[in-house]
Symmetry: C2
Subunit: 210 residues, 2 copies
Amino acid sequence: MDTPSPKTRTRIQKQKRELILEAALEVFSQHGFRGSTIDQIAEAAGMSKPNLLYYFRNKEDIHHTLIQRLLDTWLAPLRELDAVGDPLTELRGYIRRKLEMARDFPRESRLFANEILQGAPRAMPMLEDELKTLVDEKAEVILGWMKAGRIARTDPRHLIFSIWATTQHYADFDVQVRAVLGPGRDGEGRFEDAARFLEQLFMDGLKPKG
Amino acid sequence: MDTPSPKTRTRIQKQKRELILEAALEVFSQHGFRGSTIDQIAEAAGMSKPNLLYYFRNKEDIHHTLIQRLLDTWLAPLRELDAVGDPLTELRGYIRRKLEMARDFPRESRLFANEILQGAPRAMPMLEDELKTLVDEKAEVILGWMKAGRIARTDPRHLIFSIWATTQHYADFDVQVRAVLGPGRDGEGRFEDAARFLEQLFMDGLKPKG
DNA sequence: GCATTTTTTGACCGAATGGACAAACGTTAG
DNA sequence: CTAACGTTTGTCCATTCGGTCAAAAAATGC
């Protein structure tokens, strides 16, 4: 039989697909698309390669499904940015949520980073649709705050970039961060240091207090 | 004959090795280590695979040579950070130099990003030696400025991370940046926007002016 | 219990890939 | 011219990898 279409999927099929996606996330995020093999994913999922290929048409299908699923999770923190709330509180909250995601979902972060680094061969349409739309919308919100004089006037889109960059850095460049900071103060301690630093950076910058 | 050792290398050998490294930078930065083939590199260098393997022992040898060479270039902007200069001017200068590197050497940036993302399997020793040493030294300089009350008190190492993250983002996540910003205002214009934004962020943060 | 459908597996295939090698080619010094 | 050395290439090989297939095994419906 062919790979079951979404409509006809039984509970067992859904479970197995989840199992495979979880294994694939582990493998893809560590080795990238080209560096990962179906065998590796199958082994991580505790099944044979042909069995895995019974649930997904091919390697690309797995990757595509993963990326598509994760985009929603990934953009959730930005979606929560509320035009009605207090601007500085909203932005602080956004930064913290993004940093929490880098801490709690580093594999997802690396999966995306890998995909973008390679020129987003498989994710480009999503970037141009969902991502761009959301950023446009939220940039407008931020611009409104700026025009109202409630936060400093600057480029809203570059502000969003800088929040992405600084927070995801702790997931994507984890080994470098660890190499530089050394063994002490890992995990939760590092997270709190980063959170404190980023809050200060985005709120007040580096100029000394008058 | 064996691959010539560094001592016995003729000018022609040096030239060919440079040619290969340039081609390898192009290929590795686009597809990562595992995603690149010796044939691709050989073709980009305008020679046959066996000929390329006459100048480098194997694929790993090329990659390792590349990374080792590039680390110096990559760290140069931080090396220039001068303890004697004016703190805010020095940091502004560092940010601008890093941003210029992201603009002028995006392939180098992506090569490193790829390596770190995969857990730095080939670069780890360099991170723990040269990189850590330099960061430790410069963190001490920055800490001195903070203690003297010349810039705001915060974590110097996380400050360095945030400068790396925000500047390299424009090289590593270029396609995403482009997808979000759309076609208008590319190249030099984008660079100036980013430079202006980052200067403001790092100097003053987001709080509105009194 | 039996027939039908779904799931799993072992064996297999073709293409791609990293690398080896010996033979051919080019260059240069005597 | 020729011997020696450096360079280049065609050919070949073993392995890996993505993917197929038919048949076995397990589950499901009657």
